[in-house]
């Protein structure tokens, strides 16, 4: 592993950071969603797929994979927000009807984590993750 890491550049670390944050996102989402009848296969599936891609990237660098990781995290983020529209409506209307406004804080914090993964993935996409051969 030490050998692998020694051959990486900044882009790699952004991708790895995206994966690490994704682990936290998965744990937080699954813990929260299972307790609030909010589990959505698309969300946790996309997160796990994104994480898996980031893990593959540790051993095998590929431009298409980092794009796919970004897409996976994006699907998870927007699906979570789409699923939570009712809670936001309740929050802004000051009522208890469509969702659970008390969960908005948690939803936003999980969304923020996923957003960090997306941002890190996009940055990693623009950067080299391994040194140029011969450099």
């Amino acid at each position: 592993m030490k050998e692998i890491l020694s051959k990486k550049t900044a882009g790699f670390y952004f991708a790895a950071f995206a994966g690490l944050i994704a682990i936290v996102s998965i744990i937080r989402y699954v813990t929260w969603a299972s307790a609030h009848n909010a589990m959505n296969t698309i969300i946790w599936g996309a997160l796990i797929l994104g994480l898996a891609i980031d893990i593959v990237l540790v051993f095998y660098d590929n431009d298409y994979l980092i794009i796919a990781a970004t897409a996976c995290y994006s699907v998870a983020l927007f699906q979570l927000l789409a699923d939570s529209v009712g809670s936001f409506v309740d929050l802004f209307q000051g009522i208890v009807m469509f969702g659970d406004s008390t969960q908005v804080g948690t939803i936003v914090s999980i969304s923020s984590l996923i957003g960090v993964s997306i941002l890190a993935s996009i940055i990693a996409s623009f950067m080299k993750r391994v040194p140029d051969v011969g450099a």
Partner: protein, 1004 residues
């Protein structure tokens, strides 16, 4: 940067944007109705054939004439004036020692105390108009300024700038706390020496203290709040400290307290803090504080009377024993949840309404009579706030019907005529004081409570409101004779044990006029030659026999055994009585033994038999169900919806009309998203509905600028409890009329309102938008309100039928009750909406009637509402929000149980589920139910103002909202850019590979 990294990065960015566009579009399409409403987009338009002008297509006319900007301005001005008048006549003067009010014009230099003065409670969080939160809202400060008051700005500005805020039942995004509840009053340390100096030399004519209590939809007021662990309706330490500071300062000539709350505060402390006058102002809405200012200055003379009891201790109401904060979970909860597909939160709680009919004054006054008469153990300690023998004056501060004026009145009961169906009371009211004012004549009744009633558990309130009237403005010395025609039906009692129907008890009946319920009861007791009556202060009271009328009735179980619709009225809710399932599980409060039957918390273990019902999915396709092919659908005969305007509900033409529609078209109607989509085949336009009741909210809550040349929010009227407290049917009717006019200018088909539920306890989060603790008051208020609104072609949808009397756990809470309490209580307010006012819509409650949700109750929807009451219109759920699971998702069960439409089903889930169920199982029975629902919805639509401008030849065409092609365009754009980026990346990679290969070959 290398080119391949640039394209990789861009592909990532475009992938992100593409995901946003696809999922965002999908989400937006689910909420299309909401977005269209918010953007003011109508998805259909009328293609004129020219015949509209030739024919008279103005089926509902505005009293303002043409619907244009000039007339809209007149309407808006009238709605503002109405709100001020409602407040002037609905605010209740509770205390006015030494004529502290009105204030003289040279004594208007005041200091405002209490954080609520800077954060006035216009209304609680709920549906309805939000105008009070816009610049249109006039708070106390502005209203007093406009009325000529000089206000201590130093203290007021300190309140404004203070970080202290009363919570509004929303989530605190900043703190991420699960509840943002905050009491919202300043600590005594807030009042620095500098602030105290501000009223030493000036602004000390009057200390005006405003105290607020706020609940809202989904937010009950606390029985033990986080502030001090006491009733939210009690005076709290911060308020005590503030009042003590005011009193100790010795600077103020007068202290006036304003109660800015939709719920009754516990006010036994007014004397303790030297309060000279106290005025309950409820939730005044957008302009109502101007009315408050007018009362303070004497510009208006208060004439409001309470529609609920102000108890010394709110917890002393027997309903509080099994209230929302004391709802229990099934003792075998795990087993219950394992046996139901409903969500845990909506299947866990139950409420045993062991108080029976004894809600509000019906409890306090009835126990008082039995205390005076020394019977039924009324003096027991059960339910006593002191822990000692129950004592009326220790329990009640201000009774139902109470209110003071700046003048005095004398009321005489001139005569009573008891007819077959009506009782006519004639009351002469004379202004015996020195100021002009209005007075409400409150007509009360007592019916017999004898052996039959005790044997058959027919409970009787010792006094009950029968009807009321109000004088015009009487000058000093002036008199007016009011003739109040009362509905004799309201004297009947529902006997769920013996006759299993309504009975007229045999024995002595009393009619009494009184200044309030307690006063009227004392008059009745005087007529009974009783001794030992007391007034509100505990002093001996004699009662006035001249204000009573007595007659005899024979026992009669036939008179009201059949409804006016010709249907036998008999038990329908036996399974909502817990004793039906578990023998002796609950003892209902009975005046035959106050001490023995006072409610206790009831623990319930759900039986297997109960669980079968509780599971909720009750519908199964009947074996003899017809086939879908037995019905004709999609057979377009060219009959447009407008031609069904005025066609009788039972006319066979409706069947031919329905044959034109496809299953999908009919199903689209049941998914209500504050309106329904257009159906071009029958020239039905897309229609919008409003959500009340204190004003028109929902998707259409502002007037169309393009149509009227300006925009303005719909009016926020006073809380419904203030409106009822006016005891003025003309004002109530005017409210309905103005809402109807606003609806006409907005072009909405119906408005969800008025609220008809009970103030079962003082803590109800939505008590402010329901009329009263008294079902008869609800009954009486709904009639003029709904009749007037519907005269403008805006259908009235009273909500939420029935038993929806708590906000905590409201979704799915299992309410157990006996049928007398239910029919004479929860149902009664809605009964008049149908039987007397011909209301065309009803919205159900979230609760269950026993084990069965309101939406799944055929007994409620089909038997009582439609058959007994003769309802023609549509019945809608409360917000299902497109539920795909839980008890809200029992679509087939609900449809076949008489529910027509699904509230706020933006995603059209109900339509999809029903269509799938019909077509996949060839279920003609379900199709028949869908046809009935479609008919009910279309009947209401056809008979509404949205048909104005349509003739038989009018054509409706669909309009695609502009945002939809924009969203699809965004998907296409991002997809193209994403693919282009990937294509470019691929080319570079291929090129690099090729180059590498060539280099390797060259190197080799």
């Amino acid at each position: 940067m290398k080119k391949n990294k640039l394209w990789t990065g861009l592909a990532s960015v475009f992938s992100f944007l593409l995901c946003f566009a696809i999922i965002g579009t999908n989400c937006a399409m689910s909420y299309a109705g909401t977005i269209n409403g918010a953007l003011g987009i109508t998805t259909s338009k009328l293609v004129s054939t020219g015949d509209e002008e030739a024919a008279d297509t103005e089926y509902y006319k505005s009293g303002y004439g043409e619907l244009n900007g000039e007339n809209l301005k007149k309407l808006i001005a009238d709605t503002h004036e109405q709100t001020v008048t409602e407040e002037e006549e609905g605010a209740v003067l509770l205390k006015n020692d030494n004529s502290a009010l009105p204030l003289s014009s040279d004594k208007l230099s005041v200091t405002l105390f209490g954080h609520a003065t800077a954060q006035p409670l216009f209304r609680n969080s709920s549906a309805g108009s939000g105008a009070s939160t816009t610049e249109e809202g006039v708070g106390l400060y502005q209203a007093l300024k406009d009325a000529g008051f000089e206000i201590n700005d130093t203290l007021f500005n300190a309140y404004v700038e203070s970080p202290t805020k009363r919570s509004t039942a929303g989530f605190n995004f900043a703190t991420k706390e699960t509840t943002t509840w905050a009491f919202g009053e300043e600590d005594i340390t807030f009042y620095t020496d500098e602030l105290k100096a501000s009223w030493q030399d000036d602004y000390h004519d009057v200390a005006i203290v405003m105290l607020a209590r706020q609940g809202g939809e989904g937010s009950e007021l606390f029985m033990e709040d986080p502030e001090e662990g006491i009733s939210q309706l009690a005076l709290h330490q911060k308020e005590k400290d503030m009042l003590q500071m005011i009193q100790d300062s010795g600077r103020f000539e007068k202290t006036i307290v304003l109660i800015n709350s939709g719920n009754p505060m516990e006010l036994g402390w007014l004397d303790e803090y030297g309060v000279d006058a106290c005025l309950w102002i409820g939730c005044p809405g957008e302009k109502g504080f101007e009315g408050v200012a007018n009362i303070l200055t004497g510009e208006a003379n208060p004439s409001g009377r309470l529609t609920e009891t102000y108890a010394a201790n709110s917890m002393s109401a027997p309903a509080c024993v099994n209230n929302s904060y004391s709802n229990q979970t099934w003792t075998n909860l795990d087993e219950v949840l394992a046996n139901t597909g409903d969500l845990d939160k909506e299947a866990s709680y139950y409420a045993v309404q062991a108080e029976g009919i004894y809600i509000g004054y019906k409890y306090y006054e009835t126990r008082y009579e039995d205390l005076v008469l020394g019977r039924y153990h009324a003096d027991g300690s059960a339910g006593s706030s002191t822990g000692n023998a129950w004592n009326y004056t220790k329990e009640v501060i201000y009774p139902f019907g109470y209110g003071l004026s700046y003048t005095t009145f004398d009321q005489t009961l001139d005569g009573v005529e008891v007819g077959e169906d009506t009782i006519t009371a004639t009351v002469t009211v004379t202004n015996t004081g020195n100021a002009a004012g209005k007075s409400a004549a409150q007509i009360y009744a007592q019916t017999p409570y004898g052996e039959y009633e005790q044997e058959n558990q027919v409970e009787k309130s010792a006094i009950q409101l029968l009807d009321f009237g109000k004088t015009g403005l009487l000058q000093p010395g002036e008199s007016e004779t009011l003739t109040v025609e009362c509905d004799k039906y309201l004297l009947a009692s529902y006997d769920y044990v013996g006759a299993k129907g309504y009975i007229m008890s045999g024995g002595e009946y009393y009619i009494s006029v009184g200044d309030n319920a307690h006063d009227a009861l004392n008059n009745v007791l005087a007529a009974k030659d009783a001794q030992g009556m007391v007034d509100l202060s505990g002093a001996a009271a004699a009662g006035n026999t001249q204000k009573t009328y007595t007659w005899e009735e024979k026992f009669d179980a036939e008179k009201y055994s059949t409804s006016e619709a010709g249907v036998k009225v008999t038990n329908q809710f036996e399974d909502a009585d817990l004793n039906h399932w578990i023998d002796g599980a609950v003892t209902y409060l009975s005046r035959s033994g106050w001490q023995e039957t006072y409610p206790v918390a009831v623990e319930v273990t759900m039986t297997e038999e109960m669980m079968e019902i509780y599971n909720g999915e009750l519908y199964q396709k009947p074996e003899d169900a017809p086939s879908v092919s037995d019905f004709t659908q999609g057979d377009n005969q060219g009959i447009s919806l407008v031609t069904m305007h005025g066609v009788d509900y039972n006319d066979t033409q409706w069947e031919t009309f329905l044959n034109q529609l496809t299953i999908e078209e009919m199903a689209s109607l049941i998914a209500d998203s504050f309106g329904t989509k257009e159906i071009v085949s029958i020239d039905k336009p897309a229609v919008a509905v409003g959500d009340g009741p204190d004003g028109i909210g929902g998707m259409v809550s502002a007037f169309d600028e393009a149509k009227y040349g300006f925009t303005a929010p719909t009016n926020c009227y006073t809380s419904e409890s203030i409106l009822a407290s006016t005891y003025n049917k003309e004002l109530i009717e005017r409210r309905g009329e103005l809402l109807g006019e606003e609806g006409l200018f907005l072009g909405i088909m119906e408005l969800w309102g008025p609220g008809g539920d009970l103030h079962r306890t003082p803590f109800g989060g939505r008590n402010f938008e329901y009329f009263s603790e008294d079902a008869n008051m609800n009954y009486l208020c709904e009639i003029p309100y709904i009749t007037a609104m519907q005269s403008k072609g805006v259908n009235a949808g009273a909500k939420h039928i029935a038993g929806n009397d708590q906000e905590n756990n409201r979704e799915g809470v299992a309410c157990f009750f006996n049928e007398q309490a239910f029919r004479e209580g929860s149902l009664r307010g809605f009964e008049a909406a149908v039987t007397e006012a011909d209301g065309h819509a009803l919205m159900q409650g979230f609760n269950r009637l026993g084990l069965i949700g309101c939406s799944s109750s055929a007994a409620l929807n089909n038997q009582v509402i439609r058959n007994e009451w003769g309802f023609t219109g549509h019945i809608e759920t409360d917000a299902t929000a497109g539920a795909t699971e839980g008890y809200k998702a029992h679509y087939t069960t609900n449809l076949t149980a008489g529910t027509d439409s699904y509230c706020l089903d933006f995603s059209g889930t109900s339509a999809r589920v029903i269509t799938e169920a019909i077509t996949s199982t060839d279920d003609g029975y379900l199709l028949g139910s869908l046809r009935t629902a479609a008919k009910n919805i279309l009947y209401v639509t056809a008979n509404s103002n949205v048909m104005n401008g349509y003739s038989a030849d009018s054509k409706v065409v669909s309009v695609t909202p502009w945002w939809q092609p924009v969203m699809y365009g965004a998907i296409a754009l991002f997809a193209v850019l994403d693919l282009l980026s990937i294509f470019k990346l691929t080319r570079i990679i291929m090129k690099d590979k090729k180059q590498s290969s060539e280099e390797e070959v060259t190197a080799a």
